[in-house]
Symmetry: C2
């Protein structure tokens, strides 16, 4: 079987036709910042060489419908990598180390259970696959000693059941963000979870990775929206009650959340929903500098008046995003003049957004504005806020344009308490910058704060440099390692919302300790005694450096 055309590129994010082109001004700006780069388009599909698929036992293949087994080359390629920088490099170069022997599409929790039982009996590794949007190697088909490996694509499990009175919904794991929202909208409710991966990522993936959305400062991270979960494991089902809270022991829901497919397959997620907001407002302000911007957002969070969307860019991210923005010469000169007049030419941009009924948006906005003004923020109006909203999912598309232009572009994220956020910011930025320089490819290091808590916030770094053609993975690994070590050294978390996958697994001992790892391994040993579930991820760091 071949699946219907998904309309997206096999080698990366979204449809080719939505990928933006760089304007001459943008290309010149990047060359001025990074030096001259070399165009590096992806190879053609027929240039991708895959191993022949190993044949799979009938008990495995027969556990799903006959039209639910995909073995065509393109299907295997599409399930052979996520969207991490190493993944994209491997896809674009056609050098895929491996691909699943088949892709199975179960239609129910019962079919998932049948597949897992058969795979455990036959020692076939299983990689659960939602939208394929992992940026940390979370769905790489790593065999870890298993001869055969299948990918379990959850896209057929898309049930939706809304409890309007309790404002909850049971969602199938295979629903993408837009599919879930469309179904919820028919009951006049919304989940409000909008990560940058929203268009392609799935409910099961959000749960398995503890995703955070762009409005998480208001709506809460995905894990905070989950009220119950079902996990099908090779030895049976783990399910939590649909009650608003319980004191009945350790929270098993919190063991399922973040389990990244290594314990089993999430087959249903119960979530909190809200009425569809009648009003929405986005706007921008300019803080004098990053420090005063941090003070503003800390006050907002600690006073309980945080907007739903909050984003504070540091000076370099502010400078680059303004320079890359497409506004025409006249409007731009007026804007620059305004900033100069307000002495904010080298300030830090703040994007805020509010959702809700008109009265609540207006009330909350005015409470927040008081704090922002007190922190010396200068109002920039709604236009830049709307521009941000318009482009909120476009980052991954632009990233591939940059890849086409021979640019190394990567993101990583962490979080810390307000007391130690500045120290973490400085350490990570310095580590990335100096490692890029040491590689002979000095680059841009940009950062923003995008998720607030009363006790701290996240930091999201984007960095760019010239690609060392042919040497991309070494270049990436050097910077990634330096950044991760800086995070660990400053006591930050190794990941605020990208999850662990393969890339962060070596740092889990620093995150939760050896005994914490052992506790998780004990659970895995009980639920997945053969070890077939998503090998090499989360609690099983790569020994081979691959």
């Amino acid at each position: 079987m071949t699946s219907p055309d998904p309309g997206t590129k096999w080698w990366g994010w979204g449809p080719a036709e939505r990928q933006p082109e760089l304007s001459t001004a943008q290309a010149e700006l990047l060359e001025a910042e990074l030096g001259a780069t070399q165009a590096t388009p992806p190879v053609e599909l027929d240039q991708v060489t895959l191993d022949e698929p190993r044949s799979l036992p009938e008990t495995v293949l027969g556990a799903v419908a006959s039209d639910a087994v995909l073995t065509a080359k393109e299907d295997r390629v599409r399930h052979a990598a996520g969207q991490s920088y190493p993944d994209l490099i491997r896809l674009r170069s056609g050098e895929l180390p491996d691909a699943p022997d088949a892709v199975l599409l179960p239609a129910s929790a019962g079919e998932v259970a049948a597949v897992l039982t058969a795979c455990a009996a036959e020692r076939v590794a299983v990689v659960p696959f939602g939208g394929g949007t992992s940026v940390v190697g979370g769905i790489d088909p790593h065999r870890a000693g298993f001869e055969r490996l299948i990918c379990l694509d959850m896209s057929r499990m898309r049930d939706v059941e809304v409890d309007r009175r309790s404002l909850t919904a049971r969602l199938g794991p295979g629903l993408t963000g837009p599919e879930a929202e469309a179904a919820l909208a028919r009951a006049d409710v919304t989940l409000g979870h909008h990560p940058q991966s929203f268009e392609y990522a799935t409910i099961g993936g959000f749960a398995a990775t503890r995703s955070a959305g762009q409005a998480s400062s208001g709506y809460g991270r995905f894990d905070a929206l989950v009220v119950s979960a079902r996990l099908t494991t090779p030895v049976g089902e783990l399910a939590t009650l649909e009650t608003p809270h319980t004191a009945a022991g350790p929270a098993l829901r919190e063991l399922i959340l973040g389990s990244e497919g290594v314990l089993g397959v999430i087959t249903e997620v119960g979530v909190r929903v809200r009425p569809v907001p009648e009003a929405r407002r986005h706007e921008a302000w300019m803080a004098a500098d990053f420090e005063s911007g941090l003070e503003i957002v800390r006050e907002l969070a600690q006073l309980g008046v945080s907007p739903d969307v909050v984003r504070l860019s540091d000076r370099d991210e502010t400078r680059l995003s303004l320079a890359m923005s497409a506004s025409d010469g006249l409007a731009r000169r007026a804007f620059d003049g305004y900033l100069r007049a307000r002495r904010r030419s080298d300030g830090c941009i703040l994007i805020f957004g509010w959702d809700g009924d008109r009265e609540s948006v207006s009330r909350r906005r005015s409470l927040a504005a008081r704090v922002i003004r007190h922190g010396d923020g200068a109002y920039l109006g709604q236009a830049p806020g709307r521009a941000w909203e318009h482009g909120r999912f476009a980052g991954p598309l632009l990233r591939e344009t940059l890849l086409d232009h021979g640019i190394f572009v990567e993101t990583l994220e962490t979080s810390h308490t307000w007391s130690r956020l500045g120290e973490l910011y400085a350490a990570v930025a310095a580590a990335i910058r100096s490692t890029l320089e040491a590689q002979g490819t000095p680059g841009l290091v940009l950062c923003h704060v995008s998720h607030l808590y009363p006790d701290g916030a996240s930091l999201y770094f984007t960095f760019m440099a010239r690609r060392r053609i042919g040497d991309e993975l070494e270049q990436w690994r050097a910077v990634k390692t330096a950044a991760c070590e800086a995070i660990v050294g400053a006591g930050g978390t190794i990941t605020h919302h990208h999850a662990v996958g393969r890339d962060h697994a070596p740092y889990m001992a620093a995150e939760i300790g050896e005994l914490g790892l052992e506790a998780l391994r004990a659970v895995k040993q009980r639920l997945d005694p053969v070890g077939i579930m998503n090998p090499g991820k989360l609690i099983d760091p790569a020994k081979d450096g691959a």
Copy 2:
């Protein structure tokens, strides 16, 4: 060693001199409701017979300071039971099945580790002990096959370290509620966690049992206030990072929370704190009936305008609490007249409370009042609210007065989604009522809602009947079993905030499934391979019915 006089009764809650007496009117009212009862005072301490303590290995005793080992009779009795109804009956009758062989008071996590290592090597069972306020048999010295058992009293571990900028604090597990608040107040912050057990329960106990406070609708349950935790186990320490959030796998913090001493001893809890509120307002309203009261509180929760304290009593609880209240004849007649005029004579009382700066209390109160009025609530003023606040910790004291009068009085709690809360309420109330009747002791069954969530709420039942003297535990078990089965049958949680202990352990399979239990047992096996930690609790249901 004997500990200094703790100022509390050895056989129950708080100091004897704070225990209220029943007025003639109250006694008559209870007799009219329950029939004539018989005075049943507790025995004297010298009538309590304990087994001789088994001698303990020097490696265990030597792990703490020499003044940190208590073996006097009163110390052993004080650590032989919590405050559950069966515990109190056993204490008052002097029929303690067992008591710890010694009580050890470690002064640091290092001493805890040394004690646990020695106990594991010598097969000595360990019961961690905070304030001794468990109402579910959580600290009963159940030996489960271990010949020797010690109680680890955490009262010497009371460090406090405040991070004012991040609004967090590291708290020692042995701090009682008032001790923690007093220390935090010196940094002008508060935890805001005020369960009924506040005066005696400890930080470690709040964490180990997922406690909920009277203001949890606003401040959040204790587990939601915890940002990090340290657990000393017999094989090492489990500690989570002090970052505001992480996507690094399943949340180990949520494995430590609710672990009830069966995995190890909580030695530090990192919590969110808030500035001490400048204003506080409590007030009461009267809903037409329980259903319309539920609609009011659901609206408050789902619109995000819930007061910090919310309490909706059902008709019987409203009737009894008004009848038991001490207001004099004239004020009472005026109050009754007001209720009649508003057609609320058989309504359901609502208590609300707000904390914060004056402006926020006033703003939030006015948003809530709009909802309450729309739901047809009648305002009763601040006096009943203040009366509730004044008596908020007095319940356990009154309970013992009732026990002295030969009354069986017990509480239990659960939660469910708004859609199924009415069904759960009816099923549990009917189960308690009919079982009391079947026992020949028809009683009063009262209920209130006291913790709101957008998706549902808790139900807290109090029931009273004549004690079947000499047959108390059988009488209790019949009602408890019927209530628990009704909860499980309606899909509610077996406990919203009292935790599991011995009493709810048989229902854990219904709560989290056999596989869920197995997952927790796998963790216990890894962290406590000898099984010395708090045997018989949470995941180890009693086989003997004891």
